[in-house]
């Protein structure tokens, strides 16, 4: 359940962004991560809901995007996306892959409205 730690780190960044935009309210947040990050989407959503419940971000809309990891085929060297953790090179059918990129949990975008309640 490291999702609660992650939610706390997200809240910290959101509060900092809110301070930079006085008089506005964060209403929507987009987060993305690679599928090998072992982050549970449901647990993160629940943790964020719980942690924002008593503050100005209560009810914030969450767009959570899980992105495929990217690897390079160990046999033919072609890079490709690993969808659902399945590794099979579309070029040569090779099953081994060097991991090139698995996106760390990233706060990508926020939306703010001018009204404060």
């Amino acid at each position: 359940m490291h999702e609660m730690s992650l939610a706390a780190a997200i809240l910290e960044q959101l509060e900092e962004l809110a301070r930079d935009h006085p008089g506005k309210r964060i209403t929507r947040v987009r987060l993305a991560w690679g599928e090998l990050q072992q982050i549970n989407e449901y647990a993160l959503r629940e943790a964020l809901k719980l942690i924002t419940e008593d503050g100005p971000m209560k009810g914030v809309e969450l767009d959570l995007l899980v992105e495929p990891a990217r690897g390079r085929c160990s046999d033919c060297g072609e890079p490709y996306d690993l969808v659902n953790g399945e590794q099979r090179c579309p070029t040569c059918g090779g099953r081994q892959v060097d991991l090139l990129l698995d996106k760390p949990l990233t706060l990508e975008q926020i939306e703010l409205t001018g009204e404060t309640e």
């Binding site: 359940m1 490291h2 730690s5 992650l6 780190a9 997200i10 910290e12 960044q13 962004l17 935009h21 506005k24 209403t27 987060l31 090998l36 990050q37 072992q38 982050i39 690897g71 160990s74 953790g85 590794q87 099953r95 081994q96 892959v97 060097d98 991991l99 698995d102 760390p104 949990l105 990233t106 706060l107 990508e108 975008q109 926020i110 939306e111 703010l112 409205t113 001018g114 009204e115």
Partner: protein
């Protein structure tokens, strides 16, 4: 009232990663190599550490950071070997953070050592996301846990410089297909070192210690190269 959209693109664990980077630099400046041991509860992390520290005695100077939810039982086992150790109690958190490890480094006599072994909280999922400033992650997998773990926890095994299979003395009592484990690990991590060990019989402890020695030597070479 209009909606303002702002592109942020910031890593959520940025502040953890910055502290981890500072930890790594601190170790490098002292000529130390850090290894982060990740495994399920009961995989035999502390028993492997005890066997390792005994085998490395007189060869590499080690210190240890222990991470657990509660108690100092693990640290007591290490301290009994006269090895410097600092116990972190996370009080429920399922992983170590770079900040906790930085605080532990403040408490340890780091200077004069070659290797700091960090035993993470028993958990095959969460510790993987938190960089501690180590030079290598090592995943442990005990034979009784089952040979399906690398395919079920790909993120952990994909990031490990080595996988240590533990409790090999139980091989005759459990159905553990080592070929399957090797195949599943190599699919996502072709260059991973796979070492089969038993802390009880001493099997494989030599090659595992050789691996740690290689990590220390490689890290020293890299640090010297950066310095020149």
């Amino acid at each position: 009232m209009g909606i303002e959209r702002i592109r942020v693109d910031k890593k959520v664990l940025q502040s953890n990663d910055e502290i981890a980077e500072a930890n790594r630099l601190r170790l490098a400046q002292l000529g130390l190599t850090g290894v982060n041991l990740i495994a399920s509860p009961g995989a035999g992390k502390t028993s492997l550490l005890v066997a390792t520290l005994r085998a490395l005695h007189g060869r590499l100077r080690c210190c240890v950071v222990e991470g657990d939810l509660a108690t100092s039982q693990d640290a007591d086992r290490i301290a009994a070997l006269d090895v410097p150790v600092w116990q972190i109690n996370t009080g429920g958190a399922c992983h170590l953070s770079a900040r906790q490890v930085a605080d532990a480094f403040d408490q340890l006599p780091l200077a004069g050592n070659d290797l700091v072994l960090i035993e993470n909280v028993g958990n095959l999922v969460c510790p993987t996301s938190f960089d501690l400033g180590e030079h290598a992650k090592v995943a442990l997998l005990s034979m009784p846990e089952g040979d399906d773990k690398p395919s079920k926890y790909p993120g952990t095994f994909a990031r490990a410089a080595a996988v240590v299979v533990t409790k090999a003395d139980l091989a005759d009592h459990v159905d553990f297909d080592l070929d399957r484990v090797e195949r599943d690990i190599r699919r996502l991590n072709p260059h991973c070192r796979i070492l089969v060990t038993s802390a009880k019989t001493g099997e494989g402890i030599g090659p595992w210690c050789d691996f740690l020695g290689e990590q220390v030597a490689a890290n020293r070479t890299a640090t010297d190269r950066d310095a020149s």
